[in-house]
């Protein structure tokens, strides 16, 4: 039985709703009243959410094996024959949408969390200028992100990928009059370009290796004639054209991962994400925490069939993920800006997801992606609510004791903090524990890093919580009077997200009685990839006792982190300053984020600037100076010589010819008197001479006549 129904047949409407309103806002939004902007923009995202939920519901109606729905709207790019595997192949890229369990999760997270954040934005952005512009960009982002997650081929995914990058740039630089904001936008864009180069190269390699960019041809009318990547890969593996760990697969996997490190802020390309906090807080929540930055995770999971056959690339992904996780977590410890702490936390959690992907636990990565979207969006929105209450104050040192002033914010914030710290039975516990469990099976060292990171995560999150909401108030007195609870449009989304942060992980509950995580079971058909005949079919040893011990370890280390934060920031508020003073070097290193920005500036940015300056000098001195000016000078010199030559030699010859003619003509000219009679005289004279010469002869003639 193939999936069908109204919502599936109208899958294309899901990205279209926000696109239409985005176009509306960006074209005539300035003329619309705020109420209309809110109505259209939030309404369109709500419609998308309803359609997405409906489509997922209709997909779930069929058996797990058939849960794929593919819809090709039109052939988008048909460049004709291209050189590829085994001669020429007909390259086709469709504009088509694919709904399988993987995109189900993504589309629900994107539209669901996106809708809540849109609602929140009504309150948060209510007093800001450019209201219509903000919502126009947000809806454009929703369109791009939905295109990304619903795309049925790599090229269309890339369209969404670039679209979200553009919207990220536009929204980071939303307060574009502020220099730091526009700089941050540019930084995000440029750093992402570096990653996108890798993505593009990877995509080219996919196209030439498999002859297609479509992910799969399942559930299409003629899957044999136009096989997708998955089918081609299966055929090639079956025919032993590609072996486990083939270099081309490793190449594809690594190049695509370069793209993922850019978009998902992994080492070494994470530097743009902390700066991206210059954007409005709902943007940070939607784009830089819940959805866009997880695009890299989604993409790697989408290409999991290739990654599973490229063990080297998998190890790279796992190591980069684990390193990023601990690296970013330590940086978050010493930040004082509430949003910066959350930004580094996001990088760290994304590192977790890549660790999961790298150890082969793709569904665990996606699971963490989903739970993270819930609690990190909640944390950002909560932070936004705090900033709103304090009229724009973001410095943790100037907060404190807000718990009773704004309870509708502080309670959800506490729940989200517990969730991210990995306290059962909240969402973060399950997903993080699953990742750690798989890391433990795969590579003990990575598990250790993950475990330490979990402890640090609990520490810095509770540090944030205690500094902002507990203890004595350090709020400036003039602000203290204005502290107010946020409007309903902001607190209701917080409540819903708090609920999701609690329950979002309960898909994993069956593990307690030794069954499979229902989330994993649901995703399994989409992530199955190409099973190798015999070799890699490891039998997973599921020992319930080991699972419980691992859970205990992660909860224990989280508790340790919380206790440490409590000691340092709540019980003895002066103690953390003493600790920092005891190890000034360590503290400075962390507070200055390992000087990575400075190192990048010194290694790359300034070197490129130097290079540009050098090129500028070459331009000014060599090209302009020697080249252009030299050419002008040379032309001038040559023309001087030419003038001299013309004047004295060419004209001289002409004049000489004239002078010679003139001189020679003098004696001849004497005869040309111009007096007619003198000519006549000369003629007669000539006649007389002739006659005189022949005279005797004449005489003879005349005589003979007689």
């Amino acid at each position: 039985m193939t999936p069908s129904g109204y919502f599936l047949e109208h899958l294309w409407l899901i990205p279209l709703f926000p696109l239409v309103t985005a176009a509306l806002m960006l074209l005539i939004g300035r003329q619309l009243p705020k109420a209309a902007v809110s109505f259209f923009c939030v309404g369109s995202v709500f419609l998308s959410f309803v359609h997405a939920a409906g489509a997922v519901y209709q997909l779930l109606a069929v058996s797990p094996e058939n849960r794929v729905y593919q819809q090709i709207l039109f052939e988008w790019i048909t460049p004709g024959a291209m050189p590829g595997p085994g001669g020429l192949f007909n390259f086709v890229a469709d504009w088509g949408y694919l709904l399988d369990p993987l995109s189900c999760v993504m589309v629900l997270v994107v539209t669901g969390v996106g809708f809540l954040i849109h609602v929140y934005s009504i309150g948060y952005m209510g007093h800001e200028g450019g209201y219509y512009r903000f919502f126009g960009y947000m809806n454009l982002f929703m369109f791009s992100m939905l295109t990304l997650v619903l795309a049925n081929n790599l090229l269309l995914l890339f369209v969404g990928w670039e679209g979200v990058g553009l919207c990220s740039y536009l929204l980071i630089g939303f307060y574009f009059l502020k220099k730091s904001a526009s700089d941050a936008g540019k930084k995000a864009f440029i750093v992402n370009r570096i990653g996108d180069t890798g993505f593009l190269l990877g995509m080219f390699l996919v196209a030439t290796t498999f002859g297609t960019v479509r992910f799969t041809s399942q559930m299409l009318s003629d899957p044999v004639a136009f096989p997708g990547i998955l089918e081609t890969l299966r055929t090639m593996v079956d025919h032993k054209d590609l072996l486990y760990g083939a270099p081309v697969l490793t190449g594809i996997a690594l190049l695509l991962f370069v793209g993922a490190t850019g978009k998902s802020a992994q080492l070494p390309l994470y530097v743009w994400l902390p700066d991206a906090m210059e954007g409005p807080t709902p943007v940070s929540a939607l784009i830089h925490a819940a959805t866009m930055v997880t695009a890299g995770v989604y993409m790697v999971a989408r290409m999991s069939a290739i990654y599973q056959l490229a063990p080297v690339a998998m190890d790279v992904v796992a190591i980069v993920g684990a390193t990023t996780a601990i690296f970013a977590a330590t940086m978050a410890v010493a930040q004082n800006d509430i949003k910066k702490v959350l930004a580094y936390s996001t990088i760290s959690q994304l590192g977790y997801m890549f660790l999961a992907l790298g150890v082969g636990a793709f569904s665990a990565g996606i699971f963490h992606l989903m739970t993270h979207a819930f609690f990190k969006a909640l944390l950002f929105l909560g932070a936004g609510s705090v900033i709103h209450a304090l009229s724009g104050e973001q410095d943790l040192r100037k907060m404190g004791g807000l718990r009773n002033a704004i309870p509708a914010t502080s309670v959800p914030f506490l729940i989200a903090t517990l969730a991210i710290a990995g306290i059962p039975p909240l969402a973060g516990f399950f997903s993080k524990d699953e990742i750690l469990g798989h890391s433990f099976d795969r590579f003990l060292f990575l598990w250790a890093i993950g475990l330490i990171t979990a402890g640090i995560t609990a520490f810095y999150m509770f540090r944030l919580l205690f500094l902002a909401f507990y203890g004595r108030s350090r709020v400036a007195t003039e602000l203290e009077e204005h502290i107010h609870e946020s409007p309903k449009s902001m607190t209701v989304p917080l409540t819903i997200l708090a609920f999701l942060s609690i329950c979002g992980g309960w898909f994993a509950l069956p593990i307690f009685w030794g069954e499979n995580n229902t989330f994993d079971t649901f995703l399994e058909p989409a992530l199955r990839g190409v099973p190798l005949s015999a070799a890699a079919a490891e039998v997973e040893q599921h020992s319930l006792l080991k699972d419980y011990l691992l859970m205990l370890a992660s909860v224990g280390i989280a508790a340790l982190g919380i206790w440490l934060a409590y000691r340092l920031y709540l019980q003895h508020p002066k103690l953390h300053a003493k600790v920092a003073a005891a190890w000034p070097r360590v503290y400075n290193l962390l507070a200055n984020k390992y000087y990575v920005d400075e190192i990048y500036d010194a290694l790359f940015v300034n070197r490129i600037k130097d290079l540009s300056t050098a090129f500028g000098v070459v331009d000014a001195k060599l090209i302009d100076g020697v080249g252009v000016d030299g050419a002008g000078w040379l032309a001038r010199v040559i023309s001087r010589i030419s003038i001299w030559w013309d004047k004295w030699v060419i004209d001289g010859l002409v004049n000489l010819a004239g002078k010679i003619t003139n001189g020679v003509s003098v004696p001849v000219r004497m005869f040309q008197t111009g007096v007619f009679s003198s000519y006549a005289v000369l003629i007669l004279l000539g006649l007389a001479i002739l006659l005189g010469y022949y005279g005797h002869h004449m005489h003879m003639i005349v005589r003979n006549l007689r």
């Binding site: 000219r669 007619f676 009679s677 005289v681």
Partner: protein, 100 residues
């Protein structure tokens, strides 16, 4: 038969009158008329000698010269009229445009 000397004398006189006219007169029309006199002097010579030698060729030449003189007069007068229209003069010493 008259001796040839008479004819030659007449011819010479006519030639001299013509030559003097060509050399001395300024009016181009008069010069043209003087040239006609010279031509006719030559004609008398040709006819006279033709008669003496009993050869008709000389008389044929004379006829050709008469025709030639007519043509010359036509062309010459045409030039003079054209010139007069330009410069309103027929005096040869005023025809000096090509003078160096």
């Amino acid at each position: 038969m008259m001796p040839i000397g008479y004819y030659l004398f007449l011819s010479m006189a006519l030639f001299l009158i013509g030559a003097i006219g060509v050399v001395t007169r300024r009016n181009v029309i008069v010069v043209l008329m003087s040239i006609e006199l010279i031509l006719n002097a030559a004609n008398i010579n040709l006819v006279a000698f033709s008669r003496i030698f009993g050869d008709a060729a000389g008389q044929v030449f004379a006829l050709f010269i008469i025709a030639d003189a007519a043509a010359e007069a036509a062309v010459g007068l045409g030039i003079i009229i054209a010139f007069f229209r330009n410069r309103e003069t027929v005096l040869e010493d005023e025809m000096d445009l090509l003078k160096w």
